[in-house]
């Protein structure tokens, strides 16, 4: 129950508003309520969801969309690797770990990394599951409401909600980027993605990822004597 309470707060409000922006985007791309809720409940990573919706609107093939989403979600792996030692005990079952890891994303990760220490270690998995369940449930509610109401929202409001996504992503990426390589990659992707988009809406994100990789590689080379 403590997990439910710890999930309620400003980060949840920001996340809900950002999700509202995502649902507007999905709805504009012609994606139905059922498919949208399925994405929210089982992908549970906004950048991956936005990439997927962008690929769908661009008419991208299953293969191209899979490659783009896979590349965009790599950052979840180090996040999981970093957070699990905070939550587990030697007795924790692997199944519980896979289950809670399935809902680690930026908001829950920040809550986990900052608050887990206040919880007795043997209760942490249950506590974190409570945090995650609250975040997911609240956003499924938001997604349903916005998808049903979106046509009734003033265009200015849906525009402002949509613009929460780049703001939230940019700030979160900066905070979770621990090394210069990632910061340079951020700048490279910001410029290369839209530039490539002019001539290919299908491969722009993959190009942005590659540009990020090149920037990261150069930064690693420069850091070594």
């Amino acid at each position: 129950m403590r997990g439910v309470r710890d999930a309620l707060g400003v980060p949840l409000l920001v996340l809900m508003a950002t999700f509202a922006g995502f649902v507007g985007l999905a709805r504009d791309a012609g994606i139905g309520l059922g498919h949208t809720l399925y994405m929210v409940a089982f992908i549970w990573a906004l950048p991956a969801q936005v990439v997927l919706v962008a690929q769908i609107s661009a008419g991208a093939s299953l293969l191209a969309a899979t490659v783009a989403v896979t590349l965009s979600s790599v950052r979840l792996m180090p996040m999981v690797v970093a957070l699990l030692p905070e939550l587990r005990t030697p007795q924790t079952r692997r199944r519980s770990l896979y289950l809670v890891a399935g809902y680690i994303a930026v908001t829950s990760w920040v809550i986990g990394m900052t608050r887990a220490r206040e919880i007795p270690r043997r209760s942490r998995i249950a506590w974190f599951a409570g945090v995650e369940t609250t975040l997911v449930a609240a956003n499924l509610g938001v997604a349903t409401a916005v998808h049903l109401l979106a046509a009734g929202l003033p265009p200015l409001v849906s525009g402002l909600l949509a613009f929460l996504m780049p703001t939230y992503f940019l700030a979160s990426l900066w905070t979770t980027a621990r090394e210069n390589a990632s910061r340079l990659a951020l700048a490279a992707g910001l410029t290369v993605g839209p530039a490539v988009h002019w001539w290919s809406a299908e491969f722009d994100l993959i190009a942005a990822g590659l540009a990020g990789g090149v920037a990261g590689f150069l930064s690693l080379r420069a850091a070594r004597p």
Binding site: F42, I43, L52, T66, P166, A185, H197, G212, G216
Partner: protein, 120 residues
């Protein structure tokens, strides 16, 4: 099948399959990998830094596209207003010691002001 788009196959199961493969599995595989290799991996190893750089670049590309090629009412606003609002919000985020609310308040405030001024 792998070369078909979301709207290319007219069957009820296809969109679910598309989202499951290109969304749920493509994304979830990394969380599972994180559990599987957790603890055995040095977080600062060059290959992991590189992998993170690719992921960061790709999501940054998403940000750039959301700013430069928006849908709806935002498409009618000038690109410099959107880019400027985001840059100012990011500056406020850094200046306030990483407070997300500051980033949002400044970005959205500039955006609203710009839109309302253009209408008047």
């Amino acid at each position: 099948m792998i070369s078909a788009g979301f709207a290319d196959i007219d069957a009820a199961w296809w969109p679910w399959f598309y989202i499951t493969v290109a969304g749920v599995l493509a994304n979830g595989v990394w969380r599972a990998a994180g559990v599987a290799i957790g603890g055995q991996l040095d977080e600062s190893s060059p290959s992991l830094v590189l992998v993170r750089a690719v992921a960061t670049g790709l999501v940054a590309g998403v940000i750039g596209n959301l700013v430069l090629f928006p849908a709806g009412v935002l498409a009618a606003t000038p690109a410099w207003l959107r880019a400027g609002a985001l840059a100012a919000g990011f500056g406020a985020y850094l200046a306030s010691g990483n407070r997300m609310l500051m980033a949002i308040a400044v970005t959205e405030g500039i955006l609203i002001a710009g839109i309302l001024l253009a209408q008047s």
